[in-house]
């Protein structure tokens, strides 16, 4: 492409409403433009990246045997009523009416549509398993769209849905999709992790998220130093090793006026936060009597409650709900800042790590008082012990291979064993081998195509702009002339490179605006993130060389002009 025939829409200023780096750089490099809240135009440069993402996704899905199709953006309410989601789905489902006042929605996802289609088209077990995908525009009416295309309202997803009669078959397709996703992210050239994820009703191994690692990620991912273990922090088991130390201090009630938080108490007693136990009161239901009850959860002051783990306990209500101050006062007789595990008239569940504490501090269930020198069993009964907390860096790996580290990730893919959630509600059956109607089970496999673009930038940028991996670059090489309007030799050599690179299947961007300043062109090329830059000037040509600059490493080198193509091919092929 010649720059003179292409909309290069770089800008120096960073728009005020852009917070994260990918959003800033996508605006500054001219990949996208905001049309309205959460709605973006993809400019020609951005679309080229998007199409690269789509092409890789399509190739690997096809290779894995999935069949591409295309379902509508606008979906009838009837299907969503049948699955039950018309009522369940929140305000992100944009419900609309057509001119005849019939109800429709803009599809945030297509489980209902594909299930409706397949229950008609697939009649026999002989047609299973089958896996269908599309690359299609979705809409989620986010309350507060933000971060550019990272959390926009209209976006493009690849969504796939597989159909099966047995768990074994579902597991096989799931494993195939796991491999296909790994191949896709490998080809993108991104640092990513497949992370065991919580999917509520089915269990950990039936769902994996694919995260691109980046400091700005919204999710915390725990890794073992041995490489065996990867999980979203929501799901990572906290292993506590060692035994409880023996009690050494006397159990004492101490007046602690004004000390209401862990920090306050630790400061007052001049101890680490880990020495203070915190007691959180949440709502629950006694699983035997089915009566509502409050439940006390006890953790070390330096640990965070893991909501997902708490919700999995039989006695804790889902979603996790904290008791109000008034409810706590009514049940305990003290305010939340002075609560502790001793003598509570409600079930008490102690985190594994907290259960190993000795000589600890905790609330005395009396406003303005705490206990010091408290010890389990000696002073306070230790009942049920569970894993309640988020893991932290340095925790032992649950797989036994060293210790955990925690990095942030951006979720860009999610594979999921749905089971019969939709097929049962929508009566999607086929004839099985015995000629009987059997309900299919399903998997679904999402990949955020537009989100990948932003995530790739979050992971690959520097102060000068984007640094594209070769596979995603809108153009993989820039040809930058020095004073082309004054030198016929420079112009001719650039034209020759442009022709040769194009013929060789590279995708050059020729900065052919005759009078553009070198510094401006190089800044643009760096901002746009083109991986390889060839700078052509009279001085070099006199000795038969041009300058090559690598965007990622910053490395510069002189290369004989007839070696340039081979050099680029060796770099881009690898």
């Amino acid at each position: 492409m010649r720059a003179s025939r292409f909309l290069i829409a770089t800008q120096k200023e960073t728009p005020a409403d852009a917070v994260i780096i990918s959003h800033k750089l996508m605006l500054r490099a001219g990949l996208i433009r905001k049309m309205a809240a959460g709605l973006y135009n993809w400019l020609p440069l951005g679309l080229r990246v998007l199409r690269k993402v789509e092409a890789i996704v399509r190739q690997e899905m096809d290779r894995a045997g999935a069949q591409e199709m295309l379902m509508p953006v606008v979906q009838p309410a009837e299907l969503w009523q049948e699955s039950g989601r018309w009522e369940q789905y929140g305000g992100e489902l944009l419900r609309i009416k057509d001119r005849h006042t019939n109800d429709f929605c803009l599809g945030p996802t297509h489980e209902e549509v594909i299930t409706d289609l397949i229950r008609v088209e697939v009649k026999s077990y002989k047609q299973l398993p089958a896996n269908f995908y599309q690359i299609q525009t979705k809409f989620r009416d986010e309350t507060r769209p933000r971060f550019g295309v990272m959390r926009s309202r209209e976006f493009i997803m690849k969504d796939a849905y597989s159909f099966h009669l047995s768990q074994e078959s579902l597991q096989q397709s799931y494993d195939d999709m796991y491999k296909a996703y790994s191949a896709i992210f490998d080809r993108f050239g991104l640092d990513y992790r497949a992370v065991a994820a919580d999917n509520g009703s089915i269990g950990g191994t039936a769902s994996h998220e694919f995260h691109v690692l980046a400091d700005s990620g919204e999710d915390d991912i725990a890794f073992s130093s041995g490489g065996e273990f990867v999980a979203n922090i929501e799901l990572a088991e906290a292993i506590s090793v060692g035994e409880r130390a023996a009690a050494t201090e006397a159990f004492t009630e101490v007046a602690t006026p004004g000390a209401r938080t862990v920090d306050d108490v630790a400061k007052l007693f001049e101890v680490e936060n880990s020495q203070v136990l915190k007691t959180l009161i949440v709502k629950g239901v006694n699983p035997e009597t089915e009566e509502e009850t409050l439940v006390a959860l006890v953790l070390r002051g330096d640990h965070e409650l893991n909501d997902v783990k708490a919700e999995k306990l039989d006695i804790v209500s889902e979603p996790l709900t904290f008791a109000s101050d008034e409810e706590v006062k009514a049940a305990v007789g003290a305010s939340p800042g002075s609560i502790g595990p001793k003598g509570l008239s409600m079930p008490v569940i102690v985190d594994r790590a907290a259960a190993l504490s000795a000589d600890f501090l905790c609330g005395a269930n009396k406003n303005g008082y705490h206990f010091s020198g408290a010890n389990w069993e000696r002073d306070i009964e230790l009942g049920r012990v569970e894993d309640l907390r988020n893991v932290v860096a340095g925790d032992p790996s649950p797989a036994g291979d060293g210790v955990l580290d925690i990095k942030r990730g951006i979720e860009v893919g999610h594979i999921f064993q749905l089971g019969d959630k939709y097929s049962k509600a929508m009566n999607a059956t086929v004839l099985d081998e015995n000629g009987k109607q059997a309900t299919m089970i399903m998997g679904c496999y999402g990949l955020g195509v537009t989100r990948v673009v932003a995530a790739a930038i979050e992971q690959n940028h520097d102060d000068n702009g984007i640094i594209w991996p070769d596979a995603l670059a809108p153009f993989n090489v820039a040809i930058v002339p020095i004073n082309m309007h004054k030198s016929e030799a420079v112009a001719q050599q650039c034209e020759q490179f442009y022709q040769d690179f194009t013929d060789a299947g590279l995708e050059p961007l020729f900065m052919d605006e005759a009078k553009a300043r070198l510094g401006v062109m190089l800044a643009d090329v760096e901002l746009m993130g083109l991986p390889h830059v060839i700078i052509v000037g009279d001085r070099g040509l006199e000795s038969g060389v041009v300058e090559y600059k690598n965007r990622r490493t910053g490395e510069k080198q002189e290369i004989a002009k007839d070696q340039v193509l081979a050099h680029l091919q060796s770099l881009i092929a690898n």
Copy 2:
């Protein structure tokens, strides 16, 4: 592709609500499935065709220097209010509210969005001309969606928009798009015509429709036998040759009780309809006094009024509106069935052909009476004569090259010089060469991607199903084995063909369901329209041949098995 891994969703029954052949065959061949009124799922087979259309469109648009981008489906009301179309556009514009009750619409077209974008991104005449396109989902909330994807609510269009500072530049891009569209339809392998179309305010040459010819088309297109002239019948000038014959009959008022239509009168007097003149009363405004008036339009009984031509007359209101029976009675003193041009107290405009009539019949402006033997000038004043009628087959070509024929066409593309309609309303200006703000002018260029698929089928089918042109075929060759489950030789040869064809870049569909019956497979392959069929059986293999069948011609021939690939390549290359 192996049929065993592909959703072949052919069906024998024609769904009840399908009226036109393309809709029937798209359902029967398994290209699409209806999800709701005007909303279709594209099954894997159909999507393959759609992608071929898209790829050809994309290549030719790129070649013509247009830049691809992508704009949102959901558009904010503000932009449509700025252009004035929020109020003007009918119910086909689906207006919706988001969760914050802000107004949006689903885009039926993107003039507002692109103009909003370009007025910010393009600052200088140096960046012009520029032409941007997208291939994107559109929505038009048709009152009565019908004919499958031919008139659906959600559909895919390629829409392009060009920006200029001069009419010469716009004309250049328009001509480039005309050529690009011609290249696109040539590559599709469809019989089409670029037709001068009426676009209201700008004039005939500033708009062309691209029609795929098919008997089921909604538009009538007039062609000259010499090939010089092509126009939508709305725009084709009616040439009347010869002179008016001399009067031979006496002018007589005749009682014609009950004769109210041209047919009635012609039958009563035993003459052709052409001998009866009809007088239509429409609303108008006197261009000098600006007072409302009725206007009488006089045509031969065998000719049809051309609304577009009538609307172009200075005295006739647009849109064309007929006077009510009451208004006619009040103005003339007779009912519409007895109206004629004699002695009317309103402007009378006579069609060119009607002005050549002699000894004609017409209403006497007296209920139940007609004049016979009427002649212009002698009996009735002949005032203004204009071209008011649709051309008919046999009319002289306006280009002077023989006579006109009329065929039906399906409009699948439309190129259009917009002028400053949007740029002026939305204040889209750039700095011109003199450093002054100048309003851009625009062109727009639409192509109905989903519609092309249906139109191709309307033009290419027979009783057995679709007949794809090679360029649009979902698979260009079918490999059909005879009794593969009983013959290792057949299985091996088919596998070999499948491998060889794939390696050679052909797109084979291997009907590899071991026990499928030959007749069923051949019927499916014909219904799906695959252009080339290779049938492999033991008997042929014994003498080293297979059968080739051409879908379009029905021709069958035996071909040596090692000549098959070369044979296919020679056919598909041409």
